[in-house]
Amino acid sequence: MTSLTPPAHHPDKKYWLDESRNVNKLVWLLIMACAGLILFDALYAKHGHFAFEESFPVFYGVFGFLAYCFIVLSAKALRRILKRDEDYYDR
């Protein structure tokens, strides 16, 4: 598991975000916001251009989540083919 903000290397001033507890608070805030959007999705009358916006619940949320995962994970796979050393073009 990767922690979002590991402790600072410098023993200087402690910041609010240095505490992983506080980072988790932000994550929970995001989760709550998403939950709120799901709830809200059922409550208002949509005026979209496409039928799927109205027939598919939380269409944009699901689309955003899946598209994001697809982009990041496929780019990660793409890296295996495309990655070269930093001095590749200087050699």
Partner: protein, 565 residues
């Protein structure tokens, strides 16, 4: 207005060329005044054409102002002014002059009423802007600058070829709607396509911009590509293939941006992706879509400049822009981090930020034109934008692992430029009906802040952010590692040189073999001659006079025979 008929472009070009005569603070004040004078001049002019010059049989229209050229010229002047503020700490005459002449050339091109004038300014943008890359004064930047120059000038040559064909067939050099079917139309389209970084013609952008100076990249990000967007909107509005080209442009750079380590290169990929949205708008070609393109260019220039400014400040203070070496900088540069986040929220099109009110015009135009697949591609690309520009840029530089780097906050002038640009991004997002929509080429009948639209966008963005959090927590997000990723420039930076070297060595070897074969043959002939005619040769042993008489008799005999025949 300062003077009747004075082209605002000339204020910047001539003014820029005169800048070296001044020094210190006087030059700084002078340079700050130039774009402002340009804005005063532009806003004081009436719509119409002017400054005609007759050259041979050609009637050059140096100045053509209408609603489309106005909005592009205005944002170019604003970007130029912000660029001057951002570079005020700098003492580099080359960059001072190059930045102003380059901005002036781009404005001149936008205001050009004919293709010849467009060509002249088109090439001037290439020649002046390369100095913003070379001013980095490193071997790497020099070579990247050369590659950039070759491609940019090449685009100009295609434009010239296209306009010659067009003129020969139609007898006109007017720069109005061209279309692909017009004579020379395809050549001009390709010329615009190179500058607009169409897929496979795009790599000069990701190659050159990250090599530019801290301030140079900010200036570069504003003009060249948006000039191409303007030119396409003027000449090729409604050309259907642009919808597909644009959609491809929005989608493919996002994959490269995810795994790129150089954060200014991430921004270059992101720039490419944003151009895609504008190109789709041009391809759709309706009034709503073209309004969307102009609005998006306007907003994009500001938030992209803001992002380049913030990353420039990081590079300026820490000496690196590699994500693998950065992190935790919000502790040292909190204001820069804040401005960067405003840029990120704007490009990601969060409600109340500028990207939201401009991108949605294009998305709505796609939806109204029943381009369902294109709409979904744009939506997909929007999730990608959130990743590379919305999250990756601020997260890996200002947050995430603390790199231990402690530096000063950005210089005051950089903060001022970022602050003003950030303010513009927010103001445009909140008051588009006053600040943005009245500037657009066509009358706007569009309300971005409807419940459906705001909630749909919030769903898209927050769930994508949730996906990011999930991938990070699971450790699946690709780590930032020092590397370069192959892109299409591999073909001309590696493949082509390798093929050339191979072909050259093959030719060299073949030539060597041919040489030795011919040499052997010649030596053989010479040996044979020497054997027969040399000092010890059989033919040399006979009496020379006798042999000559014999040949004379043979020749005479032959003559007689031919005579009687």
């Amino acid at each position: 207005m300062i003077a009747e008929g004075l082209n605002p472009a000339l204020i910047l070009i001539a003014g820029g060329l005169l800048a070296p005569l001044l020094g210190g603070r006087v030059r700084a004040v002078y340079m700050l005044m130039l774009p402002l004078l340009g804005i005063i001049q532009l806003c004081g002019m009436d719509y119409g054409s002017g400054n005609s010059i007759s050259l041979f049989d050609l009637n050059l229209i140096m100045l053509r102002l209408d609603r489309l050229s106005f909005i592009f010229a205005l944002i170019f002047l604003i970007a130029s002014w912000l660029g001057v503020i951002y570079a005020l700490h700098l003492r580099d005459t080359v960059q001072d002059v190059a930045a102003l002449v380059y901005a002036g050339a781009a404005i001149g091109a936008v205001l050009a009423g004919d293709l010849v004038t467009l060509f002249i300014y088109w090439e001037l943008t290439a020649v002046s802007s390369v100095f913003l890359i070379w001013a980095r004064r490193s071997e790497e930047a020099f070579r990247a600058g050369l590659r950039y120059l070759v491609i940019q000038v090449g685009s100009g040559v295609l434009l010239l070829a296209g306009l010659i064909v067009h003129f020969r067939v139609t007898g006109s050099i007017a720069f109005d709607h061209l279309g692909l079917e017009t004579p020379g139309g395809l050549l001009i389209f390709l010329a615009f396509g190179i500058k607009c970084a169409f897929p496979l013609l795009h790599n000069w952008l990701q190659d050159a911009y990250p090599q530019a100076t801290v301030t140079g990249a900010v200036v570069l990000s504003a003009f060249t590509t948006k000039l191409a967007v303007y030119a396409l909107a003027r000449g090729y509005a409604g050309t259907e293939i642009l919808i597909y080209i644009g959609a491809t442009m929005t989608a493919f750079p996002i994959f490269f941006a995810v795994i790129e380590n150089d954060l200014r290169k991430v921004l270059a990929y992101s720039l490419n992706n944003q151009l895609g949205f504008m190109v789709v708008g041009i391809g759709i070609g309706t009034e709503l879509a073209l309004n969307g393109t102009a609005a998006h260019a306007f907003c994009h220039i500001l938030y992209k400049a803001l992002l380049f400014m913030s990353m420039g400040a990081v590079l300026f203070r820490t000496g690196t822009i590699k994500a693998s070496e950065l992190g935790g900088l919000y502790k040292s540069m909190p204001l820069t981090a804040g401005f960067c986040i405003v840029g990120s929220l704007s490009i990601s099109a969060f409600p109340l930020f500028s990207g939201f009110v401009s991108k949605s015009l294009i998305m709505t135009a796609a939806a109204e034109g029943h381009h369902t697949f294109i709409f979904l591609v744009l939506l997909f690309a929007s999730a990608g934008v959130l990743d590379h520009s919305g999250i990756k840029i601020p997260f890996f530089s200002f947050f995430y692992h603390d790199s231990g780097k402690r530096c000063a906050e950005a210089p005051a002038n950089m903060l001022a430029a970022m602050g003003l640009t950030a303010l513009a991004c927010v103001a445009l997002g909140i008051f588009p009906q006053w600040l943005l929509y009245p500037l657009l080429p066509y009358i706007v009948d569009y309300a971005p802040y409807t419940t459906t639209h705001v909630l749909a966008q919030m769903q898209l963005l927050l769930f994508a952010a949730l996906a990011f959090t999930t991938l990070m927590k699971m450790g699946w997000y690709p780590p930032e590692i020092p590397s370069v990723n192959l892109d299409f420039d591999w073909t001309y930076r590696k493949l082509l040189p390798a093929v050339t070297v191979r072909v050259w060595s093959l030719l060299d070897r073949a030539w060597g073999r041919l040489n030795s074969t011919v040499e052997c043959g010649v030596m053989g002939v010479m040996g044979a001659l020497s054997r027969h005619h040399g000092p010890h040769g059989k033919l040399a042993a006979t009496w020379p006079t006798g042999s000559m008489v014999l040949w004379a008799v043979v020749l005479l005999g032959a003559c007689l025979v031919f005579y009687y025949l």
